[in-house]
Subunit: 150 residues, 2 copies
C-alpha cells in the first residue's frame, strides 16, 4: 500500500471504510473482537439503522478488552457457541454483498503487530457460502437451544 500511514493504521482505515459503507445489513462472525475503533464503527452502524448481527466465541468474548459487552449494551444482537471447539471464523458480510475474510481477528494486537491477511471479495460465488454459514451458525447458536446441563 503506497499510503503514508503506518501499515497497521492503513489496514485499520481500509477495514473501517469497508464497514462504514454498510447501508442495510452487517453480519460479523469473529473469534476475537477487541478493537475499540472497530467496535465504535459497528455501534455507529447500528445507530444508523443498519441491521447488525454478531457471532463470536464464548471463551473469548469475556476477556478483558472485548467489545462484545459494549455491542450488547448498545442493543446489538450477539450469539456465541456454547462448548467444544472454538468459533474460529474471522469474517464479515456487508449488505449481503461484500465478504471481508482472512486471518485477522479484530484486535489491536493483530492489526498493529501481527502478520495478517484480509480478503475483500464481491463475487457471489465466494460470498454465498459465508452467508449460508452465518445463517447456519446464527440458528445453531440461538439461545433457545442452549443446554445448561450438557
Amino acid at each position: 500500500c503506497p499510503c503514508p500511514l503506518p501499515h497497521g493504521d492503513c489496514a485499520l482505515s481500509r477495514l473501517l471504510r469497508r464497514l462504514l459503507a454498510a447501508r442495510r445489513s452487517l453480519e460479523i462472525c469473529l473469534f476475537a473482537f477487541s478493537s475499540p475503533q472497530l467496535g465504535r464503527a459497528v455501534r455507529l452502524l447500528h445507530g444508523r439503522g443498519v441491521r447488525v448481527r454478531v457471532v463470536t466465541d464464548a471463551q473469548y468474548m469475556g476477556l478483558r478488552g472485548s467489545q462484545i459487552g459494549l455491542l450488547r449494551q448498545a442493543g446489538i444482537q450477539v450469539r456465541h457457541d456454547q462448548e467444544g471447539g472454538y468459533m474460529h471464523h474471522k469474517f464479515a458480510v456487508v449488505d449481503g454483498r461484500v465478504l471481508i475474510t482472512g486471518s485477522l481477528n479484530w484486535t489491536t494486537q493483530a492489526i498493529q503487530n501481527n502478520r495478517e491477511n484480509v480478503l475483500v471479495v464481491e463475487d457471489a460465488e465466494y460470498v454465498k457460502p459465508f452467508l449460508d454459514e452465518f445463517e447456519r451458525i446464527w440458528e445453531e447458536y440461538n439461545p433457545a437451544n442452549y443446554r445448561f446441563f450438557p
Copy 2:
C-alpha cells in the same frame, strides 16, 4: 458437503486432495502446523521433488506436536519470524496457481473441533497478492537477517 465422512475428516480429506495435486511447488504460510496427516502429505510432496517452502510462527513452531521439526528433518526449508507480533497467516499456494486460505490452522483440534473456513481460489487476482506476500516474508525471514541482540 454431502459425503458420508464426519465433517472434520471430510474437510481434512479435501484439503489433502488439494495439496497432493501439487506437481511443482508448494508455499505454506502457517501460524500453527501440528496435523500429522498434513505433515505427512507435505513430506511426501517434498520426496516427490515438489519444491516446498514453509513459513511459520516462531512462538508456535516449538510447541508439542508441531510438525515443523519433522519437516526440517526431512530436508524441507522452513523460515520463521523473529520477534514482535505473530506470523498469523494461514495459507498455502499450490503450483503458483491455487490459493488455499482461511481461518484454519493445520492442527487436529482446528480440523476436528473448531468452526473454521477454508477458501480455495484460482483467480490470479486473488492468488498473486498472497504469492507476493509469501516472497516478501520469505526474504524478510531469511536467517541471514536474524539479529541475535535486538
